[in-house]
């Protein structure tokens, strides 16, 4: 949080730009500087305009809004592409349709781009759970049938490592202002063997979402004290506190409804559900002196069955009886969108979508009563090297789970033979990853979260309609996770979702009481060892090391 505050003091924001521009004008400087100032003001004006489409709290944006934003953000494209330059070019775009977002937004954003450039785009829409198999199959069978791909960084080993992606041209780097990305999304993320491949459109980490009304409720505070609990009633800062609060809330009422604490997501979700155990485990298993937390670096020996991870699994087992009765059949989508945003439960980890949707979508009933933080810490952390639990002198160990590293837009190498197609594909990708357009996507429901330093200007968020306190809390949770020195970063190794999927299967057995935490974790470790051998241990070790930096 301190780092974020520090950053905010030094980074450009709307106010500082205006201040600087006014000062320069007063000094009567050269015409060139005047032109620069005009451009800055025009951009500033543009950002202010797009953020009013439709305006936060004025209903969910529609296709008309997406098209309007796409139209207004066309200037960078016009600077590099002549009108009608791609007439006759046809491109295929593969991406997701989660929660009717992603590709649906891209269609709207790219419609004005298509009208201006003359290119036509056909769409391959995939549900989240279908994404991995469709991509893997295309890679393995050499049937890449798309020119542009929406993809997460974990798949870079599969795609860029196999020469299937096109290297980003320099004009694209300039158009999208690639240096504006937050540090953790800069190389090696988005690159392979020193070449840049990705237009980043998202930043992913799990943050901690909680209900402010629960933790300011006097009746609950009194009951907490009356029950003889230690400390004041408040937002948990450690997993130990999360467990205590979850158990305490069982059987309690708030606003006449059943109160619940933390919501786990035990039902498999195509591998993505494993991130949610990861968020519980990172504070226990990610030691500040060790970059690795999932496997041993030199051998790829799984750590999933070490005491740190097993403690996290045991926490889920212990918490489930205090969660809603059908929680065993809840996947992350259920916990986020059908429970938490619908007013059930008081704490969940999720990607930043919750903060966006809570405030800017009609589907949420908790827009004014949500707070954010980085993931809880732990009073002690397991040291895989020594086999001991360490208590850090600095206090609880925090290790934000940088799960998935965000979505990016990639251009496939198959466009390389056709110069016009190559430029068209990169122009489309650059339009979607444009600096101004990205500000809109991170403020409204889109499936994408903050990923540029320029997204941290709170004034811009407030001007769009966000409550200052709310958005400060949200952005602090995001940027403090990205910039955390002990962040747990996703390994970009081939087949990573296979590991996760195997784990999900075994975890559901553990949570249903068919195996103990340790026995189940041992089963996962054995299956992971087998998978590593099947994929190729030596190469996996090398890629795991590279992904840790």
């Amino acid at each position: 949080m301190n780092q974020h505050d520090q950053y905010q003091g030094t980074g450009p924001n709307r106010r500082s730009v205006l201040k600087g521009a006014a000062g320069a004008a007063a000094l009567g400087t050269t015409g060139a500087l005047g032109a620069l100032t005009e451009r800055a003001l025009a951009q500033d004006n543009l950002r202010a305009r797009i953020l009013q489409i439709p305006g936060v709290g004025k209903g969910a944006p529609t296709d008309a809004d997406w098209q309007k934003v796409g139209e207004l953000c066309l200037e960078p494209t016009k600077a590099n592409v002549k009108e009608g330059e791609f007439k006759g070019v046809e491109l295929s775009f593969m991406g997701l349709n989660n929660q009717n977002l992603h590709n649906l937004l891209f269609r709207g954003f790219l419609k004005p781009w298509e009208a201006y450039t003359g290119a036509k785009i056909s769409w391959i829409d995939l549900a989240q759970a279908d994404y991995n198999p469709r991509l893997q199959q295309a890679i393995a069978t050499g049937t890449v049938d798309f020119d542009i791909l929406e993809m997460g960084a974990p798949f870079e080993g599969d795609v860029c490592g196999k020469g299937l992606a096109s290297e980003m041209p320099d004009w694209v780097k300039k158009q999208i202002d690639i240096d504006d990305y937050v540090d953790y999304l800069k190389p090696p993320v988005g690159t392979w063997n020193g070449k840049t491949y990705r237009v980043t459109i998202d930043g992913d980490c799990h943050n901690f979402n909680y209900r402010t009304d629960y933790f300011s409720d006097p009746a609950l505070a009194k009951a907490w004290k009356d029950a003889g609990n230690q400390g004041e009633w408040g937002v948990p800062k450690t997993w130990q506190q999360v467990q205590a609060v979850t158990k305490f809330l069982k059987g309690k009422k708030i606003k006449g409804q059943n109160a619940f604490g933390y919501l786990d997501a035990p039902k498999p979700w195509g591998g993505f559900g494993f991130y949610f155990l990861g968020s519980r485990a990172s504070a226990y298993a990610k030691h500040p002196d060790d970059k690795a937390w999932l496997f041993d670096v030199d051998t790829m020996k799984p750590r999933i069955n070490n005491p740190g991870w097993v403690r996290a699994i045991q926490d889920v087992i212990d918490a489930l009886p205090s969660e809603p009765a059908d929680q065993l059949n809840a996947d992350p989508n259920t916990t986020g969108f059908q429970q938490f945003l619908a007013g059930i439960g008081s704490m969940i980890p999720w990607w930043g979508d919750i903060g966006q949707v809570a405030k800017a979508s009609d589907t949420s009933v908790v827009g004014d009563i949500v707070g954010f933080d980085i993931l809880p810490g732990s009073d002690d952390v397991y040291n895989a090297k020594t086999g001991n639990w360490d208590k850090l002198a600095s206090g609880p160990n925090h290790a934000p789970n940088c799960a998935y590293l965000g979505w990016g837009v990639y251009v496939m190498a198959r466009v390389a033979g056709d110069e016009r197609k190559h430029k068209a594909a990169w122009s489309a990708a650059a339009h979607l990853g444009g600096k101004d357009l990205s500000l809109w996507t991170v403020m409204y429901p889109s499936g994408f979260q903050v990923h540029r330093t320029s997204h941290s200007s709170i004034d811009e968020w407030v001007a769009a309609g966000y409550d200052r306190k709310y958005i400060t809390s949200y952005l602090n949770s995001q940027f403090s996770s990205y910039n955390h020195p002990n962040r747990a970063v996703e390994p970009r190794i081939p087949g990573i979702f296979q590991y996760y999927s195997i784990a999900e299967d075994e975890l559901t057995k553990i949570f249903a009481g068919k195996a103990s935490a340790q026995a189940g974790a041992d089963n996962i470790a054995a299956a992971w060892e087998k998978l590593t051998d099947q994929i190729g241990r030596e190469k996996q070790i090398a890629l795991y090391k590279a992904s840790l930096g």
Partner: protein, 346 residues
């Protein structure tokens, strides 16, 4: 001349196939970019084979042409894919593997015997398949009802058929994820009104199993019912009237006349329904993902995860092929038993 044409076409086809195999395995550089030319070679061969038959065997060859397209089509879309499936089942092939596919012998088969998930799913299949008898009993009751002279018979026939026309995926969402939803689902609300405090239909093993079975039964009972109804309508009325004259009551008529006459239809419909049941996957995947703790998992939904989520093509195909063999053996045994039983009752 005809024979020479067939031999020539066969040699040409075999050569193209061999070249492509050697090219794909990296033995030789020459070859095609994909397998499409091999398909074209097969089509050319079929034409040459047909022409050769007529030239070599005259009228008999001409007669063979009536059958040949069906045989060659079956070879292309049933026999070859099945054999190819057995070949894939013998590979260690993970789509993410750096080494690519390689021969694994009986490795997948041995792995399968040690796979607790597979055997758990098979155990669940035993439950789901046995439940077909319950579906049959309900469907028979409904068929008898719709066969009787009741008011609005035509209307009910159409209404009872509606679930069959729904996609199981739609049923998963409409029923499993909406009507049976714990918080707002009408079924959950009704259950609460009736005194069930926590109506979680998918959180404990047996309730989840029965809930999945109920949904699948809802979709499939109309199918059994319509088959049985067709059988009832084709039944000679005189036999029932004769039984009535002899003083048989409703139950006696059913037990000693209707049921035995309907037995061949019943056996057919039960076997068809079992085949469908053994492939149950969509509702499970959408509603429970096999949980809680594998309680609702089916063989097909497990294979789906192995193949789709884990890209384990060789092992997934091995599981599917072994399951295919099991189904063939099971149905053959059931057919024989039912034939004997039907003869005995008749």
């Amino acid at each position: 001349m005809g024979r020479a044409l067939i031999v020539l076409a066969s040699l040409g086809g075999a050569l193209i196939l061999l070249v492509q195999i050697l090219h794909t395995t990296g033995t030789i550089a020459a070859g095609f970019a994909d397998w499409r030319p091999v398909l074209y070679a097969y089509l050319v061969w079929t034409v040459a084979f047909a022409v050769g038959q007529v030239m070599a065997r005259g009228q008999r060859g001409l007669r063979a042409l009536f059958l040949l397209p069906a045989v060659l089509f079956t070879v292309a879309v049933v026999i070859f894919p099945t054999l190819f499936g057995f070949y894939i089942a013998s590979l260690d092939w993970n789509l993410s593997s750096f080494a690519g596919p390689h021969f694994n012998g009986l490795g997948n088969l041995i792995g399968l015997f040690n796979d607790s998930y597979y055997w758990n799913a098979l155990g669940n299949m035993l439950f789901y398949t046995t439940a077909v008898l319950g579906e049959y009993a309900i469907a028979f009751g409904l068929a008898l009802l719709l066969n009787a002279e009741i008011r609005g018979r035509k209307f009910f026939r159409v209404v009872f058929l509606l679930p069959l026309m729904l996609s199981p995926v739609a049923v998963s969402w409409m029923i499993g994820k909406s009507i049976m939803e714990y918080r707002f689902g009408p079924a959950a609300t009704l259950a609460r009104t009736l005194g069930w405090d926590n109506p979680a239909f998918f959180a404990s093993p047996w309730i989840a199993r029965f809930s999945i079975e109920a949904m699948d039964a809802w979709v499939s009972i109309p199918f059994i019912m319509i088959m049985l109804l067709a059988g009832l309508q084709a039944m000679p009325k005189e036999v029932l009237e004769a039984a009535k004259v002899d003083g048989a009551g409703g139950w006696q008529s059913f037990r000693h006349v209707t049921f035995p006459i309907m037995l061949p239809v019943s056996v057919t419909v039960l076997l068809i329904r079992m085949i469908f049941k053994l492939k149950l996957a969509d509702i499970v995947i959408n509603v429970t993902a096999g949980g809680p703790g594998g309680a609702t998992d089916t063989v097909s939904s497990f294979i789906y995860r192995v193949y789709r989520d884990r890209s384990n093509v060789g092992y997934g195909t091995g599981l599917a092929m072994f399951y295919l063999l099991m189904i063939i053996v099971l149905l053959t045994v059931l057919l024989r038993l039912s034939r004997r039983w039907t003869q005995k009752v008749a």
